[in-house]
Amino acid sequence: MNAPLSIEQLLPELDHTHLDWLEEEAIFILRETVAAFERPALLFSGGKDSCVVLRLAEKAFKSKGKDGQYKGRLPFPLLHVDTGHNFPEVIEFRDRRVAEMGERLVVGHLEDSIKRGTVRLSHPLESRNGHQTVALLEAIEEHRFDVLMGGARRDEEKARAKERIFSHRDSFGQWQPKEQRPELWTLFNTRIRSGEHMRAFPISNWTELDVWLYIARENIPLPSLYYAHDRQVIRRKGLLVPLTEVTPPEAGETVETAEVRFRTVGDMTCTCPVESPAASATEIVAETLKVTVSERGATRMDDRTSDASMERRKKEGYF
C-alpha cells in the first residue's frame, strides 16, 4: 500500500537512455578538460550540481571496486570559494566528503579578500554572492589554474542558455558574451593564451529534473538541507527567508517554523528554501515534475534584482 515511490512509477515512458547519454556527454567533457589543460580544478561547493559533477568525475577517472566505492584519486584538486556565509551543514558535508574520498580541497576565503582590501562590503550583512568573483579570480591566479570545471546548467537562467560548454575567460577573468567561439560537434576549441583561462561545464545540457533523476539513480550523497526538515523562517516578499545570524528578522516580521527543503544552496544571505515534505531524491523528482516556479525564482533573492543580473555577474567572472 505504502510502497516507496519509484522513478519507474513516476515516469513510465522515460527510460534511462537519456540519463546514460547525458552521463556519457559529461564524462567526455571532463576527460577532455583534463587532457587539454595543464592545471585543472573542479569547483565543489557541496551544492547538488557540484555533487553530481563530482560523481561524474569519479566515473571518468576512477575504477569502481567490488564494494561499489570508486578507487584512486582525481587528477585535479577541488576548489571552493567560501563566502564565510555558507550554511554550516554544507561546509560540514563538503569537508566530510573530501576526507572520505581522499581528495585535495583548495578553499578561497572571501574573508581573506576583505582583509586584503580587494573586496569592500557596503554594509556588514550585504549579500556576499556577487563578491565571490573576486575571491575566485584570486584563487585562480594564486594556483595558476587554467581551467575550472563547474556544475552550471543552461536551463538555470537566460544568460547561461547561451554559454558554451568550454567558455573562454580573458586575462581579467571576464566573459565576453559577444565574442564567444562557435562550438561545433565535440571539436572543442581549448586554445588559450597564457594568463587566460577557461570554464568547462560538463552538465550544461542537464535540467533540474535530470539532476534529481541522476541523484536518485546513483544514490549521490547530498547535504541534509536538500531534504525536508523543520527550519525557522521569515516570510518576506513571497520568499521564505531562513533565520540565520546574517538574516535576522526585520521590524514587524515574525519568525515561524516550517517544513522546508532547499532547491539551490548558496550564500546564506540570498538563498531561500521552499516548503516541502519531500524527504528523498525520488520524492523531489515527483515534486519537480509538478513544480510551477523556476529554481532561481523560488530561491534566490539576488537574481530578482533585474532581468540581466546573472549576465552582469558572469561578465565580471562569476561562475
Binding site: L14, H18, I27, K162, P177, R193, N205, D307, A308
Partner: protein, 427 residues
Amino acid sequence: MNSAAPIQDHRALRFLTAGSVDDGKSTLIGRLLYDSRAILADQLDTLEKKAAGAPIDLSLLTDGLEAEREQGITIDVAYRYFATRARKFIIADAPGHEQYTRNMVTAAAGSDAAVVLVDITKLDTTKSPVPLLAQTRRHALLAHLLRVPSIVFAVNKLDAVSDPAQAYAAVRDALLGFAEHAGIRVAGIVPVSALRGDNVTQPLDAAWYDGPSLLQLLESLPTAQERKDGDLLVPVQYVAREGEGTGNQPRTLWGRIAHGRVKAGDTVQLFPNGEVATVAEVRLAGEVVDVVEAGQSAGIVLDRQIDVSRGDWIGTPKTIHAAQRFSATLAWLDTEPAVIGRKYWVRHGNRWVQARITAIESRLDIHSLEAIDAHELAVNEIGHVIVETQQPLPVESYETNRVGGALIVVDPASNRTSGALLVKAAA
C-alpha cells in the same frame, strides 16, 4: 510520411530551429516551452508585467542577453530544454539575421533534426507551384549540407490565411517539389499556428489535416546514431595511468568510438605508429565491461606497452587511411576572411595540426548552394577548398562519418574558431 511512428528512441533529441523572428520562430519555441510547462510561473510573471495587459509575447522568452534585449535582436545560439513524458528535447535556437550562416552551422553541427519555419503569409499560394522564399531554401539546404538527419518544415501562421486547407496543400506541394529537386529527404511537413498554439503540442482538429502535431512528430524522430557494425575507429582522447609515479603501470586509452565496437581479444592497429596489439580489457566509465559500442567512450587496455598519445587513433587493422591533402566544404565563421597559404590550426578528432588552405575553388551561392567561381571566402560564406596539413590525418568523408570527416579551423593569432571543414575526399 506525415504519420508519427511509435516512439522507439528515448535519447534526447537535439534539434535546431531555422527562421527569422518575423516567421514566428521565437513564438514557436515559446509555445513549445509554454505548452510543455518548461516555462514556470515566475518567468511568466516577468512576461506579463512587460505585456501590461496585452497578450503575452512568448518570443521574449528566448532573448538571453542584455544587449539583445536592448537591440531587439538575438545575437547568439541559445539552448533551450523541455521534456514530454516520453522524451527530452534540446533546442539549438539559431537567430536569423546577418550572422546567420555562422549561427546555423553552429546549431546544426551535432543536431538530430532541423525545424525550418515557413511563414505562409509571405507566400503567394494562388500560384502553382508556390514560389518559396530564398531563406526557406537556404535553411533547408544548409541543414542538408551539414547532414542533419531529419528535416521538418513547420508551415506557420495558418491562423492568418483565409483558406488554410488550400494554402497548406499548395505550400506542401512546393516544398516537396523543391526537396526532391535538391535531394533532401523530408521527415515531415506540419501546419501550425505558433501564436494560437494550433498543432504545436495539441493535434489540429481540422478535416483537411490528419497528420501529427509538431511535438508528436519530434517525439518520433530518431537521434543521429554512429554505425555500430563493421570496422572500429576510436580517436584517443585521454591516456590514463593507473596508480601514482612512473614505470610500467597499465594504461587505459580513453576515446569515444566513432564507428564499430570493441571487446577484449580484438586485434587493433594504432595510428600513426602502425603498431598492432590485442585488446586485453575494455572499460566503460569506472567499470570493466564486455563490449563498448559507437557513441560511447571506451577505455581500452592493450596487452602490451605501446607509446600512444592523445590525438592518435585506434582501429581495425588496415582500415585507417591517412591523407595530407583533401578536398572539403569550408564554412567560414570569422570576420577576417580566409587567407590562402596562411598557417592555421586545425583540430581533427583529438589532434591539433597546422594546416593551409592551398586553393579556394568555388563559393556556394547562399540561396541555391550552387557553386560559383571564387577565390576568397569571407564571413558567413561557404566554399569548396583544398587543404594541406602538416601531418597526415585519417580523414573520412563527412557524409559517411561525422567524426572522421569534420575539422575546425582556428586562427593562430586570435585563437578564434574561424571555420568548419566538412571533408569530401582525399586529394
